[in-house]
Amino acid sequence: MWARATAGIVPGFFLSAAIVGLASWLLPGPWQSTLVLGGLAFFPVWVGVFCLGFLFRSGARAWLAYSLLAAAGLAGLALLRHLQWVQ
């Protein structure tokens, strides 16, 4: 229980950030225009990610999956911004 809960809290936080970040930058219009909506949506997204963490077969799997997804999401976002494919 604890391993899966902490997976939702720690890498889950970064994964939620990546989800909100990708949505903010990939949606049409400048990223600044969805600041407040992104901030508001972040909390339900994080709660959802936290709860989904309990569907993993073990805490280690949850940590691994969330860490990889978060790293991929944040790296993808950084790359998109670096290449200026999103604004």
């Binding site: 225009s33 709660v47 911004r81």
Partner: protein, 526 residues
Amino acid sequence: MKLKSSTLRTFTALHTWVGLVAGFALFVAFYAGAITVFHHDLMVWQSPHAVEQPVGTLEDAQYLLDETLKRHPEARNWVGMLFPGEESAQPLAYWPDAQGRWHYATPDDLQGGAEPPSAALSELVNALHFSLGLPVAGLYLMGIVSLLYGVALVSGVVIHLPKLVEDLFALRPGRNLKRFWQDAHNVIGVLSLPMHVMFAATGALLCLATVVALALNPLIYGGKLAEAMPAALDTAPQMAAAGTPASPGGLAMWRARAQEEARKRGLDAFEPTYLKLTHAGDANALVEITGEVPRTLGSLGAVALNANTGEVVASQLPGHRDINHATLSIAYRLHFGEYGNAWVRWLYFLLGIGGAFLFFSGNLLWIESRRKRRQPEQGKPQVWMAKATVGFCIGACVAISTAFVAAQVLESHGAAWGMDTATGLNVACFGSWAACLAWAAVRPPIRAAIELLWAAAIVTALVPLAHGAMTGAWLWRSAAAGHTALFAIDAGALAMAAGFAWLAWLTGRRSRTGERNSVWALPAGI
């Protein structure tokens, strides 16, 4: 819908634990929040003469603004002001000093003070709502509680999902008390779910926005959040002072210009409620007039003007604003129930009390489901959970009603006793709460429950009595004079007192006639 039994078990455990951890704080947040819906009325109720005070004019407001800027040079950087009207009969000016402390002034108190007039009670109830009355850390604590509340909602829906429809309208009173509590808990939880989802999300945002913004800034916004924030939150652009003096326009001109701008956008009924003025007396002085447009959901809109010339610099009005301002306005109004008329506020009040019941009943279910049916002696954790629930939750009801009574007594006699109302209210509220907790700790839980419910009934019934005795505003006089807000608060307190008395009676009956092997049965020999 069918779910795997292991999933159901996991989510049941999750629901139980986050509910227990966050339930106490949520009970207070909902009970105090239900009362906070009426915070403007509470200010009128607290002050002995507020209801007779005529609504101030624009000239009064102009006088207050001029005097504030003259007497308090620090207000020239940033000053806010409430227009006289529905929210506050008299205009109110507020500004931060160099240390960031807020000051409030009215036409009757131009020198200003650290507390807005007659707001001690509504401020206390509001502080209980958003921070349990704890300074600084309380806000973040409630933010975390909001997140746990979100988890409790998701897990609650998941475990309820398989039998959602068939259970929804099942409220089965009878011998099986646990099933009755479970039904009541489920029905209230599911029927008010949209409101709970909204509160969990907006509550987390209101408490944790700054912390999460700090964390998200480097992660997803490339460190550019600080420069993007003002444009997302304010209407007026950020501007430095020019250093050259200029003579500012007046309130009447600003009001007219803001209304003209709103009319241009097809909003005929824009009524200014408050303003923010920066760099007063400077060539770059800006004023942001925020007003209400009736019959819109995010009904607050703002027009930013050059304070000297009245030229429109920017506007964010319903129907003509960006996503940030629309989201902010709608989230704010949804959380505070400030759309629609009095019906919406009463609905929020009832949903708030219903929410408090949800968390209270959650604790009762935890105790009930761990009951040892074959022995009179119940487990220690169950007994202490019962004591804590009774002392903390019913204690909070006693404490808030005590603060109401104390507010009336202190408004009349506080000055003679040399006691400031805000301090006195804190002592009354937290003192009586601590006493309830101590009482619950030393008494058997069922005894404490009955006694504290009676205490809540008596103290709550004293609320209209104290109001009438101290100010002469007995509830029938308020009704006859058409002061509906005063009448509603006093009558509401009487109804709550009757509710507490009814619960005390029911609890007393359960202690005598209910199942013997329970923390809620009278211990033998008492």
